[in-house]
């Protein structure tokens, strides 16, 4: 009884600490996180749709899901490069990282549009 209560309390305490820590992150990183969340959600909805109606134009399904996943991955890369706490990318200007992000996205979407059918 006491252990349950304590674990529940622990979970709540953990959750709160995470929330406060997250509030401290800079806004641009939060924007990128939001973007990643949006992309993953879109992918999930597409998977649910495929699960319900079948994968008939499989290439279309793949291109839809992979576009979401791909753009999410590129956004994560952008976040890594832009994060000031990341010592590895100290010398990389964030504009440069953003330019890479835009370019890669454009190439990804060209391929996705070709595969969409």
């Amino acid at each position: 009884m006491a252990r349950e209560k304590s674990s529940k309390d622990n979970a709540q305490a953990l959750f709160h600490s995470l929330r406060s820590a997250y509030a401290a992150t800079p806004v641009n990183l939060k924007i990128i996180d939001l973007y990643v969340g949006f992309a993953i959600f879109t992918a999930l909805i597409q998977v649910v749709y495929m699960a319900s109606v079948g994968s008939f134009p499989f290439n279309s399904f793949l291109s839809g899901v992979l576009s979401c996943v791909g753009t999410a991955v590129l956004a994560v890369c952008l976040r890594i490069q832009v994060n000031k706490e990341n010592k590895e990318f100290k010398d990389l200007p964030p504009e440069r990282a953003f330019a890479d992000f835009v370019l890669c996205n454009l190439v990804l979407h060209l391929v996705i549009m070709n595969f969409l059918g």
């Binding site: 924007i31 939001l34 969340g37 909805i45 008939f56």
Partner: protein, 722 residues
């Protein structure tokens, strides 16, 4: 009937042995007579050992074939040689001269004669003229004579001598001048003779060692021409050496199995090779020309001339114009010559019918079909083709019918039944002087086929019990008419069919075919041969033994009888009726009947039409569901935008100064343009157009983006340092 040479020896050997045995008996008159009879039998039988064949003289079929073969283009032929060959053929066969042919011939002759032509062209022109008889101008003929004389003087090859001497002989006959002579006849004679060889053949030139019989014929014709053109008598020794050469040439004559003789040259060079027909024709022409030009006899055995006549007649009607000319020209030489004229015995029909009471009609003519001198034809013997026994009839004379020119034997003797025979004829000339002029075969053997109606009697069919042999059912058949017998039997019974065959002369007859065919409803057939003993033909089918052969098939069988022979005029194939056979069941391992013929149209005919079944399209979800999920997909985007607003997104960092502002705007416009291009790519563009556009836009975007982002970077760096 045609025996090979070794069987001749065996026949002769057998008979010789018999003769020797007879000779040992002491010589009394009776025994002398017997040996003489035996000797006659020997002669007759030896003659049978050779082939019997039938030769026909020239007839109307030749004339119609000649008109077909010698076609001309509005009367003119391709060359003077062909013109001459056509004219000569028509002349020999008695075909009327067509005016356009004669006119065209005269035109080409006068053309050749008028201009300076080679001796060969002049020769053929004059030869054609001897038949067409066109007029030649005095001046032209003088020109011809002088050019031909010059040609004779300057000739070195055999063919040069041939054309020039031959031309002179022809112009001598055709022109009014009778005083055309060869200047040095003996010299020319000797120079032509120089081409001869010891084996009787001649060479074409002194350089070429090849000799041929064709050249021999040409040489003999040339020498005959020289003799006729000589102003004074030539040395007789030359003529007699030439007669020896002719005998030597004829020693080298070749022979076919049926007794025909011919000359042939060795095939050395394809160009020069003439073929047996033209070679033999050339030799014959030379021989007869030489015999006509010289006095005295040329002693050639008559059978050689007969062999040559048979060679030319045995060809029948040639299919080629040149072959036709050679044949007909040679036969014209044989028809009237000073050596000997062959006479040919021929029959209008070699198949005689006993029932129609056909009579044997024989005709004796020359090779071109003209009448022979008075003679009698005797039928000295008839031999059956399967047995080589003595003659079936005695020697009898055939009656001569003046009107038709035929020798007729009205009724065939009783000893001649249906079948194939060899009749032996002998021809005797009535006037003894004719024997010097004409030559005949001593005995002519002719194959004769006799047919007749064979009587079929006492035909009956019956079913017998196998063990007891007692007759269960029996019915008479009328094999000449219709029959519809209906029998039934089981496997323990026998079927018997019997009939009698008798020839018109009352003897037993064994036909080539005597079959009984049983055909089942399923078209399976079985054929049995009907055996005989003497006149009685009988077949017994024991069904007990035939059960397996019939594949255990019970049911209705149709019966058919075939009796046939070449000598039978009433060969028959009749349906007798049917028989219901009851056979036991087939065991497991019994052979199945062979598959019957399938109607070819059903097997190879068109098959059923196949309609293509397309793949059924995939099941698509209902449109409402798809639209619902489309809406659901938009939701995260809305969520993103709301989240951005919640975070306090602003545009404060947007450059305010005009130049960077435009670049920034252009940057966003560029990205928007690329995304719009992607939409168009999905809608209607193809990859290459898109890539081209992306290339241009990309370059623009890179440039603009670089400017904007470097401006932003500079701004943030300034802010940091400050």
């Amino acid at each position: 009937m045609a025996a090979r040479p070794n069987s001749l020896h065996s026949c002769a050997r057998q008979r010789l042995r018999r003769l020797q045995k007879e000779e040992r008996i002491s010589f009394t008159l009776i025994e002398m007579a017997r040996s003489l009879a035996g000797f006659l039998v020997l002669l007759l039988v030896i003659s049978i050992c050779e082939a019997a064949s039938l030769f026909q003289p020239i007839s109307d079929s030749h004339r119609s074939a000649a008109l077909e073969l010698f076609t001309s283009d509005h009367g003119s032929f391709k060359s003077l040689e062909e013109t001459y060959e056509a004219l000569r053929t028509f002349q020999i066969l008695g075909i009327e001269k067509k005016p356009d042919v004669t006119a065209a011939a005269c035109r080409s002759i006068s053309e050749t004669v008028g201009s300076s032509s080679t001796p060969k062209d002049l020769f053929y022109a004059l030869k054609a003229n001897s038949i067409a008889q066109c007029k030649i101008h005095e001046k032209a003929s003088k020109g011809i004579i002088s050019s031909l004389n010059a040609a004779v003087g300057g000739a070195s090859l055999l063919l040069d001598f041939y054309y020039s001497v031959g031309g002179l002989v022809l112009i001598k006959d055709q022109s009014s001048k009778a005083d055309i002579h060869l200047a040095d006849a003996e010299g020319v004679f000797r120079s032509v003779k120089a081409f001869s060889q010891s084996d009787g053949r001649w060479r074409y030139s002194s350089n070429n060692p090849e000799s041929s019989a064709f050249a021999a014929g040409i040489a003999l014709e040339t020498l005959a021409g020289i003799v006729s053109l000589a102003s004074s008598e030539l040395d007789q020794s030359l003529i007699s050496t030439l007669k020896n050469d002719i005998s030597k040439l004829f020693d080298g004559i070749e022979k076919y199995d049926d007794g025909t003789l011919y000359f042939d040259d060795k095939l050395v060079d394809g160009h020069e090779y003439q073929g047996p027909l033209s070679t033999t024709s050339s030799v014959l022409r030379g021989l007869t020309a030489f015999a006509a030009a010289t006095t005295g006899n040329i002693n050639l055995p008559g059978d050689k001339i007969l062999g040559l006549a048979k060679f030319f007649l045995g060809i029948g009607v040639p299919g080629d114009a040149k072959d036709f000319f050679y044949q007909v020209d040679a036969l014209a030489c044989l028809e009237s010559n000073r050596v000997s004229v062959p006479l040919i015995l021929s029959l209008s029909s070699a198949v005689l019918s006993l029932d129609k009471k056909d009579s044997l009609k024989v005709r004796v003519t020359t090779v071109l079909g003209s009448n022979a001198p008075p003679l009698t034809v005797k039928l000295v013997g008839a031999f059956s083709s399967d047995s080589k026994d003595a003659s079936l009839l005695e020697s009898q004379e055939l009656k001569f019918d003046q009107g038709s020119g035929l020798h007729i034997l009205n009724d065939l003797p009783k000893s001649i039944d249906v079948g194939s025979y060899t009749f032996v004829f002998e021809v005797v000339l009535q006037e003894p002087e004719d024997e010097k002029v004409y030559v005949m075969e001593s005995q002519t053997k002719v194959p004769i086929f006799v047919t007749g109606i064979v009587k079929i009697e006492n035909s009956e069919i019956s079913i017998l019990d196998s063990d007891l042999g007692s007759v269960e059912s029996q019915s008479k058949l009328d094999l000449g008419g219709k029959n519809a017998v209906s029998l039934s039997a089981n496997h323990l019974q026998k079927l018997r069919l019997s009939f009698q065959l008798t020839t018109p002369r009352g003897r037993a007859f064994k036909p080539h075919q005597a079959f009984l065919k049983l055909r089942h409803e399923s078209k399976v057939e079985h054929i049995f041969v009907v055996g005989n003993s003497g006149k009685q033909f009988e077949i017994v089918l024991n069904f007990l033994g035939l059960v397996e052969k019939f594949f255990y098939l019970s049911g209705k069988y149709d019966m058919e009888l075939t009796v046939g022979d070449a000598a039978m005029e009433n060969s028959l194939l009749v349906a007798i009726g049917h028989i219901e056979l009851d056979l036991p069941e087939a065991p497991e391992k019994a052979p199945r009947p062979p598959p019957q013929l399938v109607d070819p149209y059903s097997r190879y005919g068109p098959k059923a039409e196949i309609t293509h079944i397309f793949r059924s399209p995939e099941k698509r979800p209902p449109q409402e569901l798809s639209l619902a999920f489309l809406g659901l997909t938009i939701l995260p985007l809305l969520g993103f935008l709301i989240g951005l607003l919640r975070l306090g997104v602003n545009m404060k960092n947007f450059p305010t100064k005009p130049v960077p502002a435009t670049f920034a705007v252009l940057f966003h416009v560029g990205i928007g343009a690329v995304l719009l291009l992607y939409v168009f790519f999905w809608l209607k563009l193809d990859l290459f157009q898109t890539l081209k556009a992306v290339g241009f836009l990309g370059v623009f975007l890179v440039f603009v983006g670089h400017r904007t982002l470097s401006h932003l970077a500079a701004a943030s760096a300034k802010l940091k340092s400050a």
